[in-house]
């Protein structure tokens, strides 16, 4: 669902196809459009864009009320042990059934939630722990919560399973028909197939892409899938899981080692002026306190080692490891508000590297106009992108709305090296780090991205070297030495490339005393004796000179010696759940890791006898659990991390060790996925009175006008998407002659029914209009798209691939001129997958 895998990730799609042809797997595609993915699947169910939570919620309802799920002991054992289904929630919690579509805690203005009532019922807090763990850990030990209360019979009305039962009771096949627009039979086929193919002997996987993320309820759609998979016992097991198909070579790496405003590397939160983050101690206690009983109990080690990586020898216990000199965020500084603030003149200088917001940004016209407000902009890319040329030949220049003479932006274009022209690593969508070697120097003055940032940093450090201003302490004391060894650059014309190896070694971490790489994150310290840029990557450089991302020995299954899967070469996360509560594989067919009670654990008891029992993985898979913790072992109450977790707490990054069917924390828009209509929708919400996500991010500002619910001016649903032959905003494809010729022009997929209504001719021009903009495209009249009948109302949907712009060999209008800035409240992603529009035959401006 939410993915057109055959066209957007074609090489990966070989594997499900192989599962179908070689092993009889059933492939099902639930998607608004009939695509080449649908054509290759056993089942295609079209649903209206933005109705996914109704479909998934109804599967959950189907599953938990089915005879199979209630009678087969597999599900009960999985769910009771590995999920929070049995956990008791605060009796003050009220859900959408009681509050007609919202959850308890909604602020009087309806724009934010307080989540106090979403909490667990807990036993009394334990006494203070033993201490002696470290200065920050000892403080965490003093504020531990009591263990969550549970009802293993799952009958208590406040237990998570009962809450879920009530919450999804109204998500019926009949509701699916009315909201999603498919038939109840089509729905039931999918639900029943999922159920029948999940269990002890079989697992089922759900794969998605941006068709699920780019919504005002994007996070909750994915949560619904994760809930379903946890209920079906499909998490942590081979062939199970929820797989995100991401769209860029190291988009996972960019998230892990975040160049994102809210995050430090390796999922530590960014220090924040809105929180109690006044010192490093405050930061650690605020962030790690609620997580200290999970593996995040090691947060102090991760955080101190990060600051040591940042400021090197200048970071000491006395100066809080330089914490005071690190910036804090103060609000939402993500892409969309960033561009709005730029348009308002708040931002003066802009680095745009390998990104093209003039085409790829939502409400792209507004984003282009924001660029004209800058004092300066640096673009690094291969070609003269639309972003680089906005001042010269953008639609706003051609229309006369803007004139180059009036645009004061000083623009630099710096040519970039291609991947084959530099050494480095990418992290793919399965968390696998893979090294690419340098094959040749880039041409002329083209340089690697790392070269640019490294040399900019060196120049700035030189400029600040003599500053005595404490505000400059951070840049002055930045640990910034990645000079290459002579042998690294010997073959090349360019001699001043930073050493990719030295950067990766710092990301991996090393001990301060001897500079030796850390083999595992278990060796990190909170006393300033270890440096680590991103703890989840520790192990990629396990010893000096060894780069596990460059391992290239494949095998027939997990390939543990091909690249490096973070964390610690674990390819299937939470794989403790691949074994039952006794540590035995659920079945021979689904064996992955298991508890071997006779294996030598490598430790000795007090009498000096070897302790028996450890987790083993015949497949070579990394074990995502404490290696010697027996399944029956009970965790300690006054302890952190692994010591708190019990032998069945498979979900080691959750504070209770359980997969969260109900999210007591971490989400800003509710503990359970509930259906809200897209922010722009042709219909009223039939599930609740609440129309759209009450806490969605909206920016009501000039040039970012929204359509109303069932707006008669904009009655048609539009979904944007990608084609095989182009990549995102087209910078890496529209300039390539082969790809430009294969897919030369923007088109719009229209159903024959809509074409007949509007007088649209196949291959003729159409104009698509929203309150934000107007574009033209060639019509592709096709039965792949069809209108939906929702409770008697016919709703048309059209599809637009969005790769084109005015530069390159294949040119076309910018589809994102149509979209609005509106976003998911958890992660500020936009809703490009569904908004409303109107369409008419003919070209822009009335030409035919």
């Amino acid at each position: 669902m939410g993915s057109n895998m055959a066209e957007c990730h074609p090489v990966a799609f070989r594997w499900p196809l192989k599962a179908k042809t070689d092993h009889g797997a059933v492939l099902m595609h639930v998607d608004p459009r009939f695509t080449r993915t649908s054509a290759a699947c056993d089942v295609h169910v079209p649903i209206r864009a933005g109705s996914d939570i109704v479909f998934l919620g109804a599967i959950i309802n189907h599953v938990i009320n089915s005879r199979r799920w209630n009678e087969d002991p597999f599900y009960r054992e999985f769910v009771v042990n590995y999920t929070n289904a049995a956990t008791l929630v605060n009796p003050d919690f009220k859900g959408t059934e009681e509050l007609d579509g919202v959850f308890s805690g909604l602020a009087p203005d309806g724009k934010s939630y307080a989540n106090a009532t979403w909490s667990y019922q807990r036993n009394p807090a334990p006494g203070k722990g033993k201490g002696g763990l470290g200065p920050f850990s000892d403080l965490l030990l003093q504020q531990l919560p009591g263990r969550p209360k549970t009802d293993p019979t799952m009958q208590d009305p406040h237990c998570v399973l009962q809450i879920i039962k009530r919450h999804y009771a109204r998500y019926t096949p009949a509701l699916v028909e009315k909201v999603c627009g498919c038939s109840a039979e089509q729905f039931t086929k999918v639900a029943q197939t999922m159920l029948e193919n999940s269990g002890r002997e079989k697992t089922a996987n759900i794969t998605y892409a941006v068709g699920w993320t780019q919504h005002t309820v994007g996070v909750q759609i994915i949560r619904a899938a994760a809930m379903l998979q946890a209920l079906l016992g499909n998490i942590g097991r081979p062939g199970g899981g929820v797989l995100a198909l991401r769209g860029h070579a190291t988009i996972q790496g960019s998230t892990d080692i975040a160049t994102l405003y809210h995050s430090l590397p390796a999922y530590l939160n960014m220090p924040d002026g809105r929180k109690k983050h006044d010192s490093l101690k405050d930061f650690i206690l605020t962030e790690a306190g609620p997580l200290a009983t999970s593996y995040w109990g090691n947060y102090p080690k991760f955080a101190v080692s990060y600051f040591k990586a940042q400021f090197g020898a200048a970071a000491t216990a006395e100066n809080d490891y330089g914490y005071d000199y690190h910036p804090k965020i103060t609000g939402d500084h993500s892409h969309m508000p960033m561009m709005l603030d730029m348009g308002a003149g708040k931002i003066k200088g802009f680095f745009v590297m390998g990104q093209n917001p003039a085409v790829g940004g939502q409400n792209a016209r507004l984003q282009r106009k924001a660029l004209a407000k800058l004092d300066w902009m640096v673009v690094r890319d291969y070609f003269e992108t639309e972003t680089a040329s906005f001042w010269r030949n953008s639609p706003e220049i051609l229309s006369g709305e803007l004139k180059p003479a009036d645009i004061k932006t000083e623009v630099f274009f710096l040519p970039a090296a291609a991947v084959a022209e530099m050494e480095g690593s990418f992290t793919n969508t399965q968390r696998l780090l893979q090294q690419h070697d340098k094959a040749a120097d880039p041409p002329g003055d083209a340089r690697s991205d790392s070269w640019f940032t490294y040399h900019l940093g060196k120049r700035l450090q030189a400029m600040y070297r003599d500053s005595a201003n404490p505000l400059d302490w951070g840049i002055k004391n930045l640990a910034w030495d990645y000079e290459p060894e002579a042998k690294e650059v010997a073959p090349w014309r360019i001699k001043d490339e930073p050493s990719a190896y030295r950067v990766l070694k710092e990301i991996n971490g090393y001990t301060v005393a001897d500079g030796k790489p850390l083999a595992t994150f278990a060796n990190l310290k909170e006393d300033g004796t270890t440096v680590c840029g991103a703890w989840i990557y520790t192990g990629v450089v396990p010893e000096e000179g060894k780069n596990n991302a460059a391992r290239r020995k494949p095998d027939e299954w997990i390939s543990p010696n091909w690249g490096f899967a973070w964390p610690a070469n674990r390819h299937i996360m939470y794989n403790r759940a691949s074994a039952d509560s006794q540590g035995r594989p659920w079945s021979e067919a689904k064996k992955l890791i298991l508890w071997d009670p006779d294996a030598d654990s490598g430790t000795k008891d007090l009498s000096g006898n070897p302790v028996r029992g450890k987790w083993v993985a015949p497949s070579g898979e990394g074990i995502d659990f404490q290696p010697t913790k027996a399944p029956a072992m009970v965790g300690k109450d006054a302890a952190l991390g692994f010591d708190w977790l019990s032998g069945n707490d498979a979900f080691i990054m959750r504070a209770d060790g359980k997969a969260w069917l109900f999210a007591p924390a971490g989400l800003v828009d509710g503990p359970l996925p509930a259906h809200y209509e897209p922010y722009e929708s042709p219909v009223a919400n039939r599930v609740y009175r609440q129309q759209s996500n009450p806490v969605a991010k909206v920016w009501r500002t000039e040039g970012n006008v929204y359509h109303g619910v069932a707006d008669p001016k904009y009655p048609i649903v539009v979904s944007t998407y990608r084609v095989t032959e182009h990549h995102l905003s087209g910078t890496m494809s529209r300039w390539l002659p082969w790809l430009a010729e294969l897919m030369p022009e923007l088109f719009c997929e229209v159903s024959p029914e809509l074409a007949a209504e509007k007088g649209i001719r196949n291959a003729g021009y159409v104009t698509i209009v929203t309150a934000r903009g107007e574009i033209e495209a060639r019509a592709l009249v096709t039965r792949r798209i069809k209108p939906f009948v929702l409770d008697g109302k016919k709703v048309h949907e059209i599809g637009l691939p969005w790769h084109w712009g005015w530069q390159g060999n294949a040119k076309g209008d910018v589809v994102n001129d149509l979209s609005a800035m509106v976003g998911d409240p958890n992660v500020s992603i936009h809703e490009g997958k569904v908004f409303t529009c109107d369409i008419r035959a003919g070209r822009k401006g009335g030409r035919s």
Partner: protein, 200 residues
């Protein structure tokens, strides 16, 4: 662009791009002829360097072939990779044209405020000017403290050590090593408008 290849591409597009084209009624595809022709495409020889496809996040292995003069002459799928076993999609198969492309710019271009044209500039000049602008913009717009809501209707003065005057937006096909260096430098400068394609 490669107009001379048009005839060949009209045939091969039947394999990889035929879905839309066929619906538009443009092509009459003979895939057997295309396969026969593809079988005769000469494989370039030279030094083979392992690489990774620069496009999507599947992470297909590639082999970059370099001739005796050190020039990249071919990029193919890596048969050893357990992910793609030598195969590539249309974008991956076109990677060579990202590297060898006459429209690719290899010199620094500069557009002065108010100008209607690009000028060529030396790389060193541009780096100096960019560093100077970065420092000037940061220093003139740096916030040591900011009044933040205290949750009780009032405000509280917080140390923020940031600047809102510089923003950075990166792509997600750039190395892990770049991401690391860039977040490190931006944080050292106090930049908080730090974003990446990874969000959207």
């Amino acid at each position: 662009m490669g107009i001379s290849r048009r005839k060949f591409l009209k045939v091969t597009s039947g394999i990889v791009g035929g879905g839309v084209a066929a619906e538009l009624g443009i092509l009459n595809v003979d895939t057997a002829a295309a396969a026969a022709k593809a079988g005769k495409v000469p494989i370039k020889s030279g030094r083979q360097i392992p690489s990774i496809c620069p496009y999507c996040a599947v992470g297909c292995g590639q082999i970059v072939t370099v001739d005796d003069a050190g020039v990249i002459v071919d990029i193919q799928g890596n048969p050893d990779s357990p992910i793609n076993q030598g195969t590539l999609c249309p974008k991956g198969a076109a990677t060579l044209q990202l590297v060898k492309n006459e429209q690719r710019w290899s010199t620094v271009k500069y557009r002065a405020p108010g100008s209607d044209r690009w000028e060529e500039k030396p790389l060193d000049w541009a780096m100096s000017r960019i560093a100077e602008l970065t420092k000037k913009t940061r220093d003139a717009n740096f916030n040591e403290f900011q009044d933040m809501p205290d949750g009780k209707g009032g405000t509280i003065r917080k140390r923020v050590m940031n600047t809102y005057a510089i923003a950075s937006l990166g792509g997600a096909t750039m190395d892990n090593e770049w991401n690391y260096l860039h977040q490190k430098l931006m944080h050292a400068l106090g930049v908080v408008y730090l974003e990446n394609q990874a969000r959207i």
